[in-house]
Amino acid sequence: MSARFTRPGAGTPVPVRFPRIVREALDNGLRIWTIPYGAIPVATTTLVIARGTGDDPADRHGLASLTGDLLDEGAGDLDAIGVAEAFARLGTHLDIDVGPDAMTMSSAGLARQIERTLELLASVVRQPRLEAADFARIRELRVNRLRQLSRSAGTVADRAYVSAVFGDHAYGHGALGTTRALEATTVDDVRGFWAGHIGPAVATLIVVGDVVAVDVAAAARRVFDAWDATIGSSRIDRPVVAPDRRIHLVDRPGAAQSELRIGHLAPGRSTEDYHALVVLNAVLGGQFTSRINRRLREEQGITYGAHTSFDFRRAAGSFACETSVQSDATAGAVRDVIAELGRMREAAIAPEELAAASASLTRGYVRNFETAGQVARAATQLAVHGLPDDTFDRFVPAIEAIGADQVLDVARRHIRPDEATVVVVGDATVTAEALTAIDRPLQASAPEF
């Protein structure tokens, strides 16, 4: 065979250095992180508030995210449309995302607009109007959004899964809440959540981009220095929830496929097993060539794709396999996934499989830090989880140090097929009979929207 037909090697790995974070803090507690990065005149501005849907009161699911939606519906001198127009004149818009542990407000704009962007952002968090009429309008949109999502198989599956796995714990509901909870929510609840949870003591401002010419900290100080709010405490305990090993079947008559979630509780981001779990996931289902995607897609062709992931939250996490399979293959796919979870616990992975997973994680790591937006998202993780600055620089050596015995050890402790919850959103007339043959209780379910 000529040399031209011999596959070249992967080449020399390139080192990863996370850019330096210039840290300052205001007297009110606001942390200001500036990360000069890149030669393109962009600046990504992110304000991270370490409060999220985990802080929703038990009878007000959806409050954190409704508050997020309402913050930029009028602030200071600007009404709801006025705020949106002000960002649009800068060529950008404000994204407000509310997750389990944090609310992030971000604007991807040009570097020369950074001062005006900070002014607008400060106005949104410090002086939101939170008016009753805007509240009623936004709540109505939210209720209609929930109605629409109740027909989306993936969203239905996510809801059923998170409530089965986390139960009554603060992480056991979706960000958008339920119609019932929203109807009980008042504008005063929103004002209360804003006053009690959104303030400088729990906030980090992250500016990434071509910001050499601007004194970001001085600009931030001008608009955030007088930000004054007394923030209540947030306490999210580790969940204590009995495993729910049932198959929850959500009937969707006429469905073209079955949407599946299979998984259980897992550790939070601070676990010492983090790097071993990342390697485990790469072997099991994190990549195209992982075991589960190979088995369901590349061998059987019964799905467009199947993957697994750990959702590492602050106080705890969850592990899940997600896929959508053709209806007549539903029970078989459930069996196959559970079998693959079990196989991770039975024997150490082969050296070649470990090497391949490890290499893809370490050699490809540099790709995560190409753009200002990627660096901002990474820095946001540091802020949300309180991780040290060298977290990303330590990733490659930490992954390289993981051996097959460690992967087996964390698999035996953290992958528990016998305790896994199975959610099937599909046509019961096609799937139920075969599912009853699996040795698990079959439960008809209908998650609340």
Partner: protein
Amino acid sequence: MLSVPYTRATLDNGLDVIVHEDHRMPLVAVNVWYHVGSKNEQPGRTGLAHLFEHLMFEGSAHQPDGYFGPLQEAGAALNGSTSPDRTNYWQLVPAGALRLALWMEADRMGWLLPALTQARLDTQRGVVLNERRQSYENRPYGLASFTLMSAMFPPSHPYHWPTIGEPADLEAATLEDVQAFFARYYHPGNASLVIAGDVETRAVLREVEELYGGIPAGEPVLPVETPEAASAPRRLVMEDRVELARLYLAWPSPPLFGADDAELDLVSDLLANGRTSRLYSRLIHERRVAVELAAGQTSRELGGTFQIIASAAPGQTLETLEAAIHDEVARFATDGPTDDEVERGRAQAETAFVYRVQALGGFGGKADQLNAYHTYRGEPDAFQVDLDRYLSATRASLREAAARWLAPGRATRLAVMPAGTIETAPGDAERVEGGRA
């Protein structure tokens, strides 16, 4: 001034090669476009271009075990996609893995067929049928776009059918079909290769000559013929498993880079995208008769469609939305936008274009855009020229574009009704099913 400098060369077998140096990160994007998409298919064999794209990842003569493994182990991200007009493949790799990525692409460009077996075709046929179920059939409103396109373009026009294909056609595709498709469309003269990132141009060009120079040339691919006559506007209704009725309005519009293409893109934002848009203000914010809105100018090589989509608030009829939308479009076509609206549109275009030259790889990264401009305009570095189309738009040009293209009588209308409520649909519509008009 946006500038993405490049060097372009053409090999003897017809392969266009474009190299762009960017040394900010130790990364290289390798991006290949084949100028073939679902527009090159024949009725009865729809979906073949996309099914073929799947087979490109299953292995080739000298790497028969599949495409993903060696590249993932080298730290690559990789993917591909098929549109009506083209098929693209990309990998973003650490700089040291450039030769591997180039070699992998060369092997499947030149020597795919020995590894393409009946078993692989059958498996990927299953995968694609499941992709169709997941992305369209099992999704609320998932078949609406198919229905609209089949109504907008007559059966002899290649935009009449969806890129994912009709299930019966996918079932019917044979090994001979895919082999013939490869021979006709997958050769160097119908492809272009972009390498962007931490590379040295002369060394890369030498490597490309070495790896791709021996791939045989193929027959030139002739432009696709399209029928002269466009479809007449229609009024359609379909049922779906959804909660809220939704209205789709679609107008025939200019092709990619045609006159008024950029103007209509801006018009779509000003009319219906985001909270600053006119229809958001009127229909969602003030009157509260709609709950979701979107608009877009989708422009392709052989033509375009301009769409406005609105979901009705509970208790509101689609007639209300339709009348209000035509009313607002007519006001725009008469008075044009305000100076402030034009300024906002320009500002957003500038930001979007600057952000587009950040990432090297992936869908829409610099390498992908160099290939797009090369394929559609013959000039890879058309970034500033493209942006200038947006920056030169005026109140008058936007008003005129709306007036020229968006008259109510030119619009095809599709009403998607929640199952069981079709009797409340607008009364003047023909009922359609299964994503076909």
